[in-house]
């Protein structure tokens, strides 16, 4: 195969893949993604930080959940939150609260002796 033919082959194969990947990424991330407020939450045995956040009813926010040690959970049925935060990693989830109130989110992935009281408060107003 000549260098020219090789280049054509590579272009014919790779460019559609690159283009497809770009389009896929574009469809997942909304054009206004940067406008969605981001709330940073850190999980570390046996507490979340901050331990209380306030959201607005009907407003979408992105929760960026980071574990500083082991795997944790982030569970709150009324807000349809059921995330796993792998050890040392970050998970993201968008939430649009539809009901006002004060809710308790728990770590539902057993993380040690005091796991049972690892929780935080989400206020929706």
């Amino acid at each position: 195969m000549t260098r020219t033919n090789c280049l054509r082959t590579v272009c014919a194969t790779a460019l559609p893949l690159v283009l497809a990947a770009f389009l896929t990424a574009s469809s997942v991330r909304p054009a206004q993604a940067d406008d969605v407020p981001v709330v940073e939450i850190t999980a570390k045995r046996f507490a979340f930080s901050p331990d209380k956040i306030t959201l607005k009813k009907g407003q979408t926010v992105k929760l960026r959940l980071h574990s500083e040690d082991v795997t944790h959970g982030f569970f709150l049925r009324p807000l349809k939150l059921d995330e796993e935060i792998p050890a040392g990693e970050t998970a993201e989830v968008a939430v649009t609260p539809q009901t006002a109130g004060t809710f308790t989110t728990i770590c539902d992935h057993f993380c040690g002796a005091n796991h049972g009281n690892m929780n935080m408060t989400i206020v929706v107003e």
Binding site: T71, G73, F75, R77, D82, T104, I106, D108, H109, F110, G112, A113, H115, G116, N117, N119
Partner: protein, 332 residues
């Protein structure tokens, strides 16, 4: 002869010692002379005739736990063993509903705790002991060590015509059964008629008792959808360190007290869960006797519960006096 009400078949009498719950299973219609009819019916339906027997539920020993509020270590567990062995009617089996040991990341230490649990429990003069794990046994390693010591974490067996189902809602680290175990449960129960007496035992409650304290199983509704078509289902669980009774549809749920410390009634309590403080003058306070008689003589799906609570003191809890107090309920 009028056919006996199938829902009245299983009669359960329970006495909670704080050390556990004693259940007697026998036909509710014994006094009415319908025994033969019922026995024949059940004998045909699940292959074994139901005959009277009793069993004990123990829960939450947390062997290895050494923090506040309880400085007693395994003393309540050992006392429970003595009390069970002193029963005039030897139970057929023990169901231990999880948190046999307290968790630790040191595998060798956890091995020692499992061995210590076995050393104490092997003193039980009961022919059959069955377990399910709690999250403190199995939450950190997916239940690997638990299975080395106690075998499968979910299984089923039949005893004197009653079908027992052990469910594991802790080994996936989250409070859930999971799709695979749920499919197994459906298959396991499918061979039984709707009238079969079924006892499900597990660690966490299978309903939303107090989700913000993790007193729930996230897919508990799926389990209930599988068992609800059956007329005689009793669910026994631990985890909440207090006795509790709930009737949901036709299914009756009973929590046993723990063998380490008690949690308060969650009703009206906001904020984090906190153990009831240890009272050195009454070290077994909140481990009192709770006698429960459940019979199914009421309308289908309904239930009749009689409770006799007697708070124990350390003195009353020990020796022959404790046994007599335990035996206060003549139905046991």
């Amino acid at each position: 002869m009028k056919a006996p009400d199938r829902r009245s078949f299983l009669k359960i009498s329970g006495t909670s010692l704080g050390i556990g719950v004693l259940y007697s299973a026998y036909p509710a219609a014994v006094a009415k002379g319908e025994v033969g009819n019922i026995f024949a019916s059940l004998g045909r339906s699940n292959g074994e005739k139901v005959t009277p027997f009793s069993f004990v539920q123990l829960s939450d020993a947390h062997v290895g736990f050494n923090g506040p509020p309880d400085p007693l270590g395994t003393k309540a567990f050992e006392r429970a063993v003595d009390m069970v062995n002193a029963l005039p009617q030897r139970p057929d089996l023990i169901l231990f509903t999880g948190d046999l040991t307290h968790d630790t990341e040191d595998r060798d230490v956890h091995v020692q705790r499992m061995k210590q649990f076995q050393e104490i429990s092997k003193k039980l003069n009961v022919p059959l002991i069955k377990h399910v794990p709690g999250e403190h046994d199995a939450g950190l390693d997916g239940g690997a060590l638990y299975r080395e010591f106690f075998g499968d974490s979910h299984y089923a067996f039949d005893h004197r015509g009653v079908h027992f189902v052990a469910l594991d809602n802790v080994s996936r680290a989250k409070p859930e059964i999971g799709a695979e175990q749920l499919a197994w449960l459906k298959k396991d129960l499918s061979r039984f008629p709707k009238s079969a007496p079924i006892v499900v035992f597990t660690h966490r409650p299978l309903f939303d008792l107090r989700p913000d304290w993790e007193w729930f199983t996230s897919d508990g509704d799926d389990v209930m959808n599988v068992v609800t078509p059956y007329d005689n289902v009793t669910v026994l669980y631990g985890h909440i360190h207090r006795d509790d009774e709930h009737e949901i549809g036709k299914v009756h749920h009973y929590a046993a007290r723990s063998l380490i410390f008690a949690f308060p009634d969650p009703t009206g309590v906001s904020g984090p869960r906190k153990p009831i403080p240890f009272d050195k003058d009454h070290p077994f306070k909140n481990l009192g006797i709770r006698s429960v008689t459940v019979n199914g003589k009421a309308a289908p799906g309904a239930n009749s519960v009689a409770i006799d609570d007697v708070e124990l003191t350390a003195r009353e809890f020990s020796g022959i006096n404790g046994v007599h107090q335990f035996l206060k309920n003549p139905n046991i």
